[in-house]
Symmetry: D2
Subunit: 346 residues, 4 copies
Amino acid sequence: MIKASIVGATGYAGAELVRLLLQREDVKIVGYGSKSFAGESYSGIFRSMYKYADDVCENDNVSELSKKADIIFTATPQGFLAENINDEVLANAKVIDLSADFRIKDVDVYEKWYKLEHKSKGLIKEAVYGLPELYREEIKKARLVANPGCYPTCSILSLQPLLKHKLIDEKSIIIDAKSGISGAGRSGKVDNLFCEVNENMKAYGIGSHRHTPEIEAQLSKAAGEDIVISFTPHLVPMMRGILVTAYASLKAGTTEEDIKNAYESEYANEKFIRLLRKNENAETRFVKGSNFVDIGYVIDNRTNRIVVTGAIDNLIKGAAGQAIQNMNLMFGIDEECGLKSLPMSI
Amino acid sequence: MIKASIVGATGYAGAELVRLLLQREDVKIVGYGSKSFAGESYSGIFRSMYKYADDVCENDNVSELSKKADIIFTATPQGFLAENINDEVLANAKVIDLSADFRIKDVDVYEKWYKLEHKSKGLIKEAVYGLPELYREEIKKARLVANPGCYPTCSILSLQPLLKHKLIDEKSIIIDAKSGISGAGRSGKVDNLFCEVNENMKAYGIGSHRHTPEIEAQLSKAAGEDIVISFTPHLVPMMRGILVTAYASLKAGTTEEDIKNAYESEYANEKFIRLLRKNENAETRFVKGSNFVDIGYVIDNRTNRIVVTGAIDNLIKGAAGQAIQNMNLMFGIDEECGLKSLPMSI
Amino acid sequence: MIKASIVGATGYAGAELVRLLLQREDVKIVGYGSKSFAGESYSGIFRSMYKYADDVCENDNVSELSKKADIIFTATPQGFLAENINDEVLANAKVIDLSADFRIKDVDVYEKWYKLEHKSKGLIKEAVYGLPELYREEIKKARLVANPGCYPTCSILSLQPLLKHKLIDEKSIIIDAKSGISGAGRSGKVDNLFCEVNENMKAYGIGSHRHTPEIEAQLSKAAGEDIVISFTPHLVPMMRGILVTAYASLKAGTTEEDIKNAYESEYANEKFIRLLRKNENAETRFVKGSNFVDIGYVIDNRTNRIVVTGAIDNLIKGAAGQAIQNMNLMFGIDEECGLKSLPMSI
Amino acid sequence: MIKASIVGATGYAGAELVRLLLQREDVKIVGYGSKSFAGESYSGIFRSMYKYADDVCENDNVSELSKKADIIFTATPQGFLAENINDEVLANAKVIDLSADFRIKDVDVYEKWYKLEHKSKGLIKEAVYGLPELYREEIKKARLVANPGCYPTCSILSLQPLLKHKLIDEKSIIIDAKSGISGAGRSGKVDNLFCEVNENMKAYGIGSHRHTPEIEAQLSKAAGEDIVISFTPHLVPMMRGILVTAYASLKAGTTEEDIKNAYESEYANEKFIRLLRKNENAETRFVKGSNFVDIGYVIDNRTNRIVVTGAIDNLIKGAAGQAIQNMNLMFGIDEECGLKSLPMSI
């Protein structure tokens, strides 16, 4: 039985971890850490979990929570884990961090985009970027996994085969991403009220969203050269789901066959990636509630561009599901364990 | 391995059966019956099931579909099963009918409310009403189960303990029910378009909805006398969920303790019924994606009435989940098998 | 030119007043009062008003705001106006209060349900209940109008003809009301986040909602005797709209003709009330964006009950529109002025 | 009094024309043409218009409808007007066509993208493209106006100043557009059901949407050279609104000041175009219910691209509102008449 603690259990990503882990027979949640709700019954906050998670929340003390756990998930604000992690914690438990603290290898880049001083610089090198489709072997051996951001997961998986196989112009990449509102978290901000969000569509953080350097770092690695992208996130009046619409110019000589082969050679054995049939584009509903990544594309001969669509459930493959996929790898369990739910499209 | 055929697999209830059954290792779907989509790939229609249900749909021939199956689910229009069932079908396979054909024992009542001639009157008596919390033992032995309607499931379970224990005035019952739109089915009607449904709330079928006699029949049985109710269904701009708000006058001398005892004595051992904590009312999100029934109540001393709130996911406990619960009972399997998903409240 | 100040201009009701008043050529908004946003540009908060309301918000000083205005609208928390109104204010400007402070004549009832001490008891008697269909003549002469609550507006107008004409059993009234989320206001509460509200339906305040005594007071007046009701409000995942589904037992001898006559005699000349055609029920979308009240009913002979459906836009006829209707009356202007927008049903 | 007939009055664009025109005192609707609902009361179909449009619909005979009208609006399927227009019709009434039949000057391009033979080629030259901000003087004198598509209106107005002023690389334009569902029309298609659309985001018609050549033609005119664009429309789970996110590379030497000047010089006097403040991006809610076009932009120095956001209400500035703006011009009326509603952002 794997004992798991969750720090930040009362945010949306934390709650999704709780929901998914409670359905496993080989994992037991031993600590619900919450800064805001310490002392309250978990199921009093998330009544959907009534009779399944009636435990009382503790505060968010990483050190204490690590002592009784085999693994800690931290779904906490940027900077929190870097400030609270140390060798003792890592000696107690494996750590999967759902925040951005250990995603970016270049600490200057991190500090510039996040406007934070990194308090555990010494651990950045050791941390493994938790995208199993790219770093599976490293994850298996990791003590500290940096679970990717939601936009990066979808963006990187949608585009990296094209860069790795040198099929697109490296300077031409534009990622227009659309997200459901759960990505904005569970704090009581006016901007996220139903009446502010519903029947509205907007872009935000144009040219400045903090997921940009994370995407660029991974795409650069795939390309073998520095990649700079335009990345524009949008908010859509729905709860879950990210849709990425990515544009790139094809290199001279790239054929449809090349593209098909690139995706298939990268993903043929990936259980969670579904390469869509010809003429099918990704839709968020078709992955909702699952750990799937759906990828489709259209080649536009008029403009010599490829338009790739990728979809994930931001709370699952974009957060809690991917964290569990990483946990499975770290504990030598079947990678799909606990992640077999099929999409609940309506 | 249980072999299952689904007739009407391309409607919303049928698709929910497919989604839930595909996740089981002890059941195999051997036939996808569909009047409208025969000859098409199932996952071409429901792309969420891509790679998991790529089989081609057959037509809706009950007799043929029964031959290769141990069980047939019929999620078909009213009258269809009554017209297509016969002894040969029942000799081939057990049948769980998600339509109303065998729910009402009094054929005159059925024909009056459904404005249809019943074509298999001889089987009505044998059919078991598939509400496991009330008919568990009969279901275990049944060949033909009439899976309850969505509104009736929620209404009956919310109110029957009060009637059985003689705590409320039998003439005072008013059920104001609210449903998500999936209950209206998957046909291309203007009334169910996004732009007609969204940002709107309406009542329909006031005093004339066909689920009324089904509710009355079961409540009458619980009460031991004829019950006539006011039942008003409403459509809410959401996909899933039924909320029942039921009103009744308390009999003289009824105490809060009596009410608590009535619910607990009826439901203490029911895995899928959650009696909410004091001052909690049922909300549809807290059961969404699960087979749960949440029940809460408030006693209003000013009016001497009880107000009961009950919530289910109309596609699960109100349709496909309940059908699977019935299947489990009919095949001697753990009643919760395949129904352990916790609610996905966002 | 009527000079108007709005206190609480940055809440949803306040913003609706701004939107509606800006479209009038005979009214000028001279003061935007806001406790939270004093010093900020109004159109920086409500960007929909950009180029039309770029003025800077003042604080919420009623006395100062009254000095430059002919009329003050207060869309403020309960207790605020009672604490800030005085003879000087009333000498400066007419006052229309969108809070509950002056709606209930019995101060004990107010203090009990609102759990507040009333700080201007001496003005309660003078205040006129601002439901023009019932108090038109009094409103014309009033200095202080108590604009009705959203649920009460819809509930009272839907039911009062039946009580006034003695057609229903006074003890049998049950009002099951459903509201869009804008009624919950614009503060950053977790409960009102998109992800908490969307795809959910719930009851709240069962038997204890503060609009109950306001409805009872007006229905009692119509009936000529004390009326006690069951009132259950619900939240629906939509922005605007209230739907009331009201149930009552018919008195012996009441005919459909009696009911039709009662509604027509009360409302035949009311421009904002639309008595629906036979077999039509009220739907919120058909009044959205307008000052209309739509009323329909069904007589259920099986139960001897009438089921009345009433719909309003909670921000218009339930708040800002009704306030403007009152202002028109108080200033001797055509009652429909500025309120002629037809419903924007999609 | 201007007498207006509407052909296709029972679609969403037609209904929006009805709603807006009914609120005018100088226009009278004399004919409601509808292929599907001829013989039915208009307000029986759109109950929001009850008591305001109770007339009976006629069939869609353009010739007959023109005889009694000063102006005909055709909100009809592609090809319909081209097949039904003739000199007699144009002698009877001015025509504003909300379909695509006369939007594209190059008939080969029209026939290729629309896969239709054009049945009134002789009138294409005369027709004026009804975008008042670009063709105001021509519209004033026109007999036949081709009202622009919704995506083109928003795309062209967002980008044309940059092309006209030679500030962006003509080959680099990518338009990622997002639309509410009302753009898909009011026919009973499964794809547009609430349960198929809600909680979903998808691209469609990638590289092949029929609004592409319309956008390209107008942008080419602004640029003075042939422009080819990538255009990707998406469907968003909301009823109204189009958001365009457009990307282009800046020409060497282009400064922020140049961009500001370009927009201001083109639009300073346009009443319906609002150039947003620095750092503000367009959001659909802020134009909902109005005829406004909101335009914002961000210059991304990292990529040397400009990202322009533009928003309109697709049924108003993208259809009925723009048609009325054109009508006002054609009849010498104040261009804003009947279009002064401020946005209803919630």
